[in-house]
């Protein structure tokens, strides 16, 4: 094995000698960027990289795509990073991952390149200070945001003269009234995702957060208020019992909600930002022109809160071009980039000021209202469910899992 490992090393030295001999004007750096699957829009990222290459002639950027879902990406990345692979310099990662990957020593702290956490995170939505800063170190920079929105059938609410509900109970009452009036057994009041997918953690936390409770403290530690969690869970369960949410909610995944809403089978739907264009523009959507967006309802006495997701840029701790990589990451987190992604791809900005930018408002008018929803948003850093340690099941994990089970057990 040792001899075999030597061979590439020798080749590398030989290659270096040759390149030192021939390089004249500037050193050419090639940065390899892992930029997720199709939903993370590698096509738009490529355009941005082309801009960057034009401005920095010494840098060449290659994209590696892979793993269509966050789950498959984690599978791939944990192999590559665990093997301390230096082939990829920059990773685009899901919002739930910076803390875990940084803890594993896989990400390069960016403080030296972007400044102190407080300064670096100032322009961004508050949620990123919480998710991207770990132990006083900047683990990743925000790429683009995503958030859960409450979509609803404007036409039906108008028909029954119902105002946008402010609490979950009002929403349930409104649903019952419309369901009874329409007499369609396939019409669901509220569609949420209960299947064991990434977003299910959000579904579980929405009624919890909307009581004004926090899931993580500033340092990322789990601060689950058990009574509030049970109350939140019971909110969903009571809506299942009342026929507002369908019985097999634990089977519902993100595309199910989208397709059922498009087919006119749903009054209220909680889903990610991309769904808006699907409802409005898909050829097979039966609800074009009938869709509204509103802030998520709260628990009585609480305040509206949503779940914020999104994708972050991080520099590999094993990269051989960390300085150049950090420069590119900085570029990918600028307001200009955020604006480009908003205008070209309707991707939610990570920076508050971009939401009210004139060009952005012109091309994506809904972002003006979205700003308020997103600023009040939270991110689940889920140490108990994902990022923590498994060895010797700790209390946090057991508690979190007990709730998951309770939720699924009722189905």
């Amino acid at each position: 094995m040792k001899r075999l490992k030597l061979l590439p090393a020798l080749a590398l030295i030989a290659g270096l000698a040759v390149s030192i001999g021939t390089t004249s004007a500037y050193a050419q750096t090639t940065l390899r960027v892992f930029s997720g699957g199709a939903n993370q829009r590698p096509d738009l990222m490529r355009k941005l990289f082309d801009q960057y290459q034009a401005a920095n002639p010494g840098v060449k950027i290659e994209i590696e795509t892979g793993g269509a879902t966050s789950e498959l990406q984690r599978q791939y990345l944990s192999t590559v990073l665990n093997a301390k692979d230096s082939a990829i310099d920059i990773y685009m990662i899901d919002i739930v991952n910076p803390a875990q990957y940084f803890g594993a020593g896989w990400l390069e702290p960016l403080n030296a390149y972007v400044g102190s956490p407080a300064d670096a995170m100032k322009p961004y939505l508050p949620v990123y200070l919480q998710s991207n800063v770990v132990d006083g170190k900047v683990a990743a920079m925000p790429g683009f945001a995503d958030a859960m929105f409450m979509y609803y059938r404007k036409d039906l609410l108008e028909k029954y003269k119902i105002a946008e509900p402010k609490t979950w109970d009002e929403l349930a009452a409104a649903s019952k009234k419309i369901q009874a009036g329409e007499g369609n057994p396939n019409l669901q009041g509220l569609s949420i995702q209960g299947a064991p997918i990434e977003g299910a953690v959000c579904t579980f936390l929405l009624p919890y957060w909307s009581q004004g409770k926090e899931f993580n403290d500033a340092s990322g530690k789990l601060t689950l208020d058990k009574a509030a969690a049970v109350k939140g869970l019971n909110q969903w369960l009571s809506m299942v019992d009342a026929g507002v949410i369908k019985r097999n909610v634990a089977e519902v995944k993100t595309p199910d909600t989208v397709n059922e809403f498009k087919a006119g089978q749903v009054i209220f739907a909680i889903n990610w930002g991309f769904a808006w264009d699907r409802f409005r523009m898909d050829k097979d959507s039966t609800v074009q022109g009938k869709v509204g967006v509103m802030p998520l309802p709260a628990m009585a006495g609480g305040k509206s809160a949503t779940c914020v997701g999104g994708w972050q840029w991080a520099v590999s701790a094993f990269s051989k071009n960390k300085a150049e990589a950090a420069k590119l990451v900085k570029f990918m987190a600028t307001p200009a980039t955020s604006k480009f992604l908003a205008v070209e791809g309707s991707l939610l900005p990570t920076i508050q000021s971009v939401y009210v930018d004139a060009d952005v408002v012109k091309s994506v008018p809904r972002f003006k209202d979205a700003a308020n929803v997103v600023i009040a948003g939270r991110a689940a850093r889920c140490p108990g469910l994902r990022a923590g340690q498994r060895r010797g099941p700790d209390d946090d994990e057991r508690r979190a899992r007990a709730h998951q089970e309770a939720r699924r057990g009722r189905g």
Binding site: G103, P196, N248, G388, R390, R391
Partner: protein, 301 residues
Amino acid sequence: MAGRTMIERLRDPSEKSLGVLLLAPAFLLLLLIVVYPIATLIFNSFFDMRLSGGSGGFKFVGVENYLLVLKDPDFWNATGNTVLITLVTVPGALVVGLGLALLANLPFKRQWPVRLALLLPWALPLAFAGLIFAWFFHTEYGVVNDVVRRVWPGSEPTMWLLRPNWAFAAICLTIVWKTSSFMALILLAGLQMIPKSLYEAAEVDGASRWQQFWQITIPMLMPSIIVALIFRTITALQTFDIPYTMTKGGPGNATETLAMLIHKTTIDYLDVGYGSTLAVFMFLLSLVVTGVYLKRIGRNA
């Protein structure tokens, strides 16, 4: 035999050197691909390697991981599920596979439908077989409930994959469906090796078909049956894809298998040391079960 030339020795090597020669490619490949990973795995199982635990993730802990495994209720739950899946699906696949093989071996006028039916489940990529069956068992969009609805109109649809026992049954059914092809393939080949003269002789002696089956087919097929059982058992103990794609181990962890627990521990929790220890336990389980079968093979040889 000092007088033999090099070429003569190569052309007709001694029993022992021929053995080394013939086994060398296999062992070189094993050495290159799996010996190092397996050694790494066993090594890691003695370390605290919680990569994201902040502890830096590398501390020698002796057999602590092993003791923790024995006290881990998740381990026992997953082992129980795995053993149960093995006990249900291995005999299940054997019976179905044997039936398939016997049918495929009959001289039908049109053989291709049976032959292709035997192969199709095997050709369907494993990662998608689970997704397709999960869809069949879906409460609203599944074929199963659609058939139930047609037979008993007005009945409340069953939520197959959300009820622990039904979910377990659905998973076992899917595994049997997918793996009986493997059984059938090996058994079908075994059937070809049974000399027809044996049946002819039995016919002359007036043995019934049933007697021929038990007294000729089954005993002559035994080596193939054991080979098929060994691998079906090893793969059953490693069951991952089908429950992972159908239920993700749910509801709760009612259908979580050992391989899924290992996957979750290493990929989601990044606890490499503990994951390795779990893998060693899985290995021991496989070794014990397979040892019983292999003894049988040794005896036959």
